[in-house]
């Protein structure tokens, strides 16, 4: 199995995860989508030194991980290519911002270090929350939810097709690389001179297939409305989930719930 095959499996694995059954999976997609958006908005809005406040935000992903049965390991594995980028974002802060901000157990910590950690955590939290949304909601349900929130049908269809298209393209890529290597034994990668035609072929082939797929969706009545997905009713439980979390996020943001906790955790020197 080559690398491409594995990434197709990875995409399909998301499908499989999303097909699971847990209290979180059963929630209405709109409730989950809005909660995720609220979470990301709240997380991002923390100031760059508000590390202690931000730490409390781990509550949401932690709870959803345990409720949904999605493994933290799975999440890390899926995000392993993006995580380093997110972590790299704040890397230079300690160099520029050296003013001492707090002391922990006798060690003085500069503003730069705190803002670096804050930035990294923000990234990790937001990624985890988005991942959890994807892992507990199928792409079709998600699109249906977006439609219900009046996101234009064109955009939503585009999102759906992109998701399917990426799958088709990796499949074609995998077939083509296999075919290439069968006739170019011992070569590592694909010879530079062949890249042009290779990419051209890839594009044409996956466009043809995507075209057929889309045709096949149209033939079965798809017209940009997601009648087939998300037949769920928005129930009391969904409303409670959404409102409760929104309240918690607001609370964490406006009152310094975290300050108290933070003071306990970090020795209270701020």
């Amino acid at each position: 199995m080559n690398k491409m095959d594995r990434s197709i499996l990875a995409l399909r694995e998301m499908d499989a995860l999303a097909a699971g059954d847990s209290p979180v999976h059963q929630l209405h997609p709109v409730a989950k989508l809005l909660t995720t958006i609220a979470y990301i908005a709240a997380t991002v809005s923390f100031g760059k030194y508000q590390l202690s406040g931000l730490l409390v935000m781990i509550l949401y992903p932690a709870l959803v991980f345990s409720l949904s049965g999605v493994g933290v390991g799975t999440c890390l594995r899926k995000l392993r290519f993006v995580l380093p980028l997110v972590l790299a974002v704040g890397l230079f802060n300690p160099l520029f911002d050296r003013a001492p901000l707090l002391t922990v157990g006798g060690v003085t910590v500069s503003g730069g270090v705190v803002s670096m950690v804050t930035l990294m955590l923000k990234g990790v939290f937001c990624l985890a929350a988005s991942f959890l949304l994807m892992a507990t909601t199928s792409i079709d349900d998600l699109c249906a939810a977006l439609r219900r929130l009046h996101v234009p049908s064109l955009l939503v269809t585009l999102l759906l097709l992109t998701f399917r298209y990426v799958g088709v393209m990796t499949e074609e890529l995998s077939v083509m690389t296999d075919a290439y290597h069968l006739r170019a034994p011992g070569q590592k990668g694909i010879r530079f001179a062949a890249w042009g035609s290779f990419l051209g072929q890839l594009l044409l082939r996956s466009m043809d297939r995507a075209d057929e797929l889309y045709g096949s969706m149209q033939l079965r009545g798809f017209s940009g409305s997601f009648a087939y997905a998300g037949s769920k009713r928005f129930s009391g439980r969904d409303a409670v989930w959404l409102i409760l979390w929104a309240l918690i996020f607001a609370l964490c943001r406006s009152f310094d719930v975290a300050g108290v906790l933070g003071a306990l955790l970090m020795g209270g020197n701020r």
Partner: protein
């Protein structure tokens, strides 16, 4: 129920693939569409489904195929693609099957009932919750047929339904197809399969109708088949 009148169809404007094709398929008929590679069989089906521009008149139940009538036309025609991988786009067989009926406004209960009925009719109940990408070629083909049947089409178009199947699965597909009461239009290079499933045959050659008549006549005519770059079905060639 399906009528082609002087139909010309093309991918690129100045290179028509189908040229002046005319024929009629009556309700309940099973018609085999044969011809060498590149003769235009798939193209003909795509034109009928409005997936390709055409000139001339194509009608289904008297309704002309135009942009405006497409939803109505497509609702009546089920299309089983040459490549099942491109047919199934939902994660599981069940989700794929329920996709069409729901889009055409069936309630969930109604759609579920249809899915179950089709699955038990084809004896595929154990495939219901399987993942599409984990099916074998034969299972995938049967699932693709099930997906199309769940839409309760009035006519079924099948593009090479037995290609790449082992003898047993081929037999299974043939028997299934033969049992379907709907109007059928089937393309294949497997002329034995056409013999088993169709009463009438239309022979295409380079985009034109070279012959149209009872399967009995066309499939037994060595000369006709050979001038059109084909061979007698195996069951006759031994004679």
């Amino acid at each position: 129920m399906i009528q082609f009148e002087n139909v010309t169809a093309y991918y690129e404007k100045d290179a028509p693939i189908l040229k002046n094709v005319s024929f009629t398929v009556e309700r309940g008929e099973a018609v085999g569409l044969i011809g060498a590679n590149g003769a235009g069989k798939t193209t003909l089906m795509r034109a009928l489904l409005g997936l390709l521009p055409h000139e001339g008149r194509i009608t289904v139940d008297g309704v002309e195929v135009t942009k405006k009538t497409l939803p109505e036309i497509r609702r009546k025609l089920g299309f089983v693609l040459q490549n099942s991988d491109n047919q199934m786009f939902m994660p599981t067989v069940y989700e794929d099957m329920i996709f069409g009926p729901l889009n055409y406004g069936a309630s969930r209960e109604e759609a579920e009932a249809r899915v179950d009925a089709v699955l038990s009719r084809l004896e595929l109940t154990e495939l219901k919750h399987r993942h599409n990408h984990k099916l074998s070629g034969g299972e995938k083909r049967m699932a693709a047929i099930a997906t199309v049947l769940a839409m309760e089409p009035e006519a079924i178009l099948m593009d090479e339904p037995t290609s790449a199947l082992d003898p047993q699965n081929r037999r299974l597909v043939i028997n299934t197809v033969r049992e379907l009461p709907e109007t059928k239009l089937i393309t294949s290079h497997d002329l034995d399969m056409i013999w088993d499933t169709c009463d009438r045959v239309i022979l295409l050659d380079r985009g034109t109708v070279a012959a149209d008549g009872p399967a009995e006549e066309i499939l037994r005519s060595r000369e006709l088949l050979e001038t059109n770059r084909m061979e007698l079905p195996l069951r006759f060639s031994a004679l």
